[in-house]
Amino acid sequence: MTKLLGVVLLLCLALVVSTDYVAASDDVTLNDKDINVVHFEAMSYPQLARVAHVQGVVVIRVSLDSEGKVEKAMAISGREELIPDCLANAKKWKFKPNRLKMAILVYSFTLPPVDCGSVTSFFTLQGVNVASITGCPFVATPTRSHSM
């Protein structure tokens, strides 16, 4: 009975080790110190999202070549109206090459209730990889008929 229990425990341990190994190859943890932006591109608030008052966070994973240029960008999460512009923007960034040949970019879109005059949005890079895009709300514009 004790031997049987020992075998079961060994099998479970082997399974755990095996699972850890698979996870490590697919879902690596990327530390902030691995992400070093060499060049970034500012972006505007996507116009349709601004008009439709869409806010939120988009997370993009980029694959890098040996020189740190973005080879491929993929959205991990975010609103449909925001993702295409983020993907297009991420492809213009450049990073210091790292061992994992990848980086994560976080785009944060907000529309605070303020007047901005003729400016439509502001872009700032915060921390190592957080792009903050603050938009100016689009005020409603009704179209009216007339009587004859």
């Binding site: 505007s44 996507p46 116009q47 349709l48 999202a49 008009v51 439709a52 008052h53 869409v54 806010q55 609103r79 449909e80 109206e81 209730p113 303020v114 007047d115 005059g117 003729s118 709300p137 689009f138 005020v139 409603a140 514009t141 009704p142 179209t143 009216r144 008929s145 007339h146 009587s147 004859m148």
Partner: protein, 501 residues
């Protein structure tokens, strides 16, 4: 005369000798007085026999603010015999839109120096305050250095009082025999523009009339422009965006448009005309040697101030919150919107003028008109419902773009997490030939309600707002801007609109 939002007409009649009150608020439909109204106090006049009688008090032009409040200035005098102004007191009366229950009177100025304080023009600030102006006119002798005065009144309290930055050497009298008062308009960021446009001399350098820009709250001068000749007159056309101004100077009957930036730097137009006026945007009307003429030049993008034009026009003057009830993104109405958008998207590449006009607007966003409409369709960012303004269903609003009100509150009735760029009104002309008992039409071609042409015009208009196309103006509650916008759609996209099947 001024007109309140409910159609009531406010009339001030200085020295009314017909037996009617000096101030009247009448029904716009039948001319009948609307209830028991506040009266203007009488002035006192001494007769040659030493007795005193009541007489009229000078009264100025009324205005109606966005909340329905009526403002008017009047001067109560005591005139001794032989004629001498022994006292003059100037008041501002505010009549709230509450059946005359709230009437507020504020004393603006007083004098006992044998001079009048003639009521002048009033400009609303759009937030419950007004700039009230007047003219100090001595009964005899030279005029003061600064005869034009102003007071900023907020909630019935006089918060600032200052001299308007004009120094005329004499008055030019109007048909009523009284000094012509400066005209004023309100621009962006609390900047007031004013002109003594027909002044025949200024003590600054003895030359022509001025246009001045100053701060509403303090009177601090920002800049001034002076005509080079006393034969030249100046007029204000409209306050423009970014604290700009469009004005005109007239010499020998020929108008030149003057465009001022926020610092007062002026750019005269390269074209001239007679009696020119801005229709909206870059469309101007006037007269040439051969008759009526229109000009396509010198665009004016109107300020959103509540009093951008001297005729009392105002952008956000009466803006109230929009709301939507019964919002939906399904059903036959949704299918209709989708189909019209799809037809426009398909047709655009074949209609170069419309296509490139929309593409001009989207350059800054790296979008084409076709791709933008494609995004709208793909992300389904539109819907329909019943559109309200305040508590009233608005049958005249066919659609709107955006999700926030001018005060930045979210439009209620839409999904709280956003995602809607355009709403079409279920009860207005987009889906109905008649609405609320009347037939409705849209744009300069009078496209009838519930027609494909009207539907296409509405949607192109809204897409032009959203992109936005340069020169396409914010027209929330602004008839002039809306007419100009519809004209732009007509000029660029009429062929496409009328080709749709």
């Amino acid at each position: 005369m001024a007109i309140r939002g409910d159609g009531a007409v406010v009339i001030s009649a200085p020295g009314n000798t017909s037996g009617l009150p000096e101030l009247m608020i009448v029904d716009g439909q039948n001319g009948q007085l609307l209830g028991q109204q506040p009266s203007i106090p009488a002035s006192s006049y001494q007769l040659s026999n030493g007795s005193w009688v009541n007489g009229y008090s000078p009264i100025g032009p009324p205005i109606v603010d966005s909340n329905g409040s009526i403002y008017v200035e009047y001067e109560v005098d005591q005139i001794a015999y032989p004629p001498q102004v022994t006292s003059a007191t100037l008041y501002l009366m505010q009549i709230a839109d509450d059946q005359y229950n709230t009437v507020t009177t504020t004393q603006l100025s007083s004098t006992s120096s044998n001079e009048h304080l003639f009521p002048g023009r009033i400009v609303p600030d759009g937030q419950g305050g007004v700039l009230a102006t007047w003219v100090i006119a001595p009964s005899s002798g030279p005029i003061p250095t600064n005869p034009y005065q102003a007071a900023y009144v907020v909630s019935g309290s006089l918060t600032a009082s200052y001299a308007l930055p004009f120094t005329p050497t004499n008055f030019v009298l109007g048909p009523d025999g009284l000094p012509i008062k400066p005209t004023l308009i309100l621009g962006d960021n609390g900047t007031v523009f004013a002109t003594d446009g027909t002044s025949s001399g200024d003590s600054t350098n003895g030359e022509g009339p001025k246009i001045v820009a100053f701060a509403l709250a303090s009177g601090t001068l920002d800049w001034f422009y002076q005509a080079q000749s006393i034969q030249t007159t100046l007029g204000l056309v409209a306050a423009a965006t970014n604290t700009g101004l469009a004005a005109k100077s007239t010499s020998n009957g020929v108008d030149t448009v003057l465009s001022f930036d926020s610092s007062g730097n002026v750019t005269p137009s390269s074209w001239t005309g007679t009696d020119v006026s801005n229709f909206g945007g870059n469309y101007w009307l006037g007269y040439s040697a051969t008759g009526g003429a229109n000009y396509n030049a010198t665009p004016v993008e109107l300020s959103s101030s509540p009093f951008y034009g001297s005729d009392g026009n105002g952008g956000n003057a009466a803006v109230q919150d929009i709301s939507v009830q019964s919002f939906s993104q399904t059903g036959s109405n949704q299918t209709t919107i989708t189909n019209v958008l799809q037809e426009i998207k398909t047709a655009l590449p074949s209609y170069g003028a419309c296509n490139s006009w929309l593409n001009n607007g989207s350059q800054q966003n790296n979008l084409s008109g076709v791709s933008y409409i494609g995004q709208m369709l793909q992300s389904n960012t539109y819907g329909h419902g019943t559109i309200y303004v305040g508590t009233n269903i608005r049958y005249d609003i066919w659609a709107f773009s955006g999700a926030t009100n001018p005060d930045h509150t979210m439009i209620s009735g839409l999904p709280t997490n956003g995602g809607i760029s355009m709403v079409v009104n279920d009860v207005a002309g987009f889906f109905n030939a008649t609405a609320n008992g009347g037939a409705y039409y849209l744009g300069p071609r009078n496209y009838p309600g519930d027609s494909l042409r009207a539907q296409a015009m509405v949607l192109i208009h809204e897409v032009a707002h959203q992109l936005p196309v340069p020169g396409f103006q914010a027209d929330n509650n602004n008839n002039k801007a809306e007419k100009a916008n519809n004209k732009m759609v007509d000029i660029n996209c009429r062929q496409l609109i009328e080709a749709l099947q």
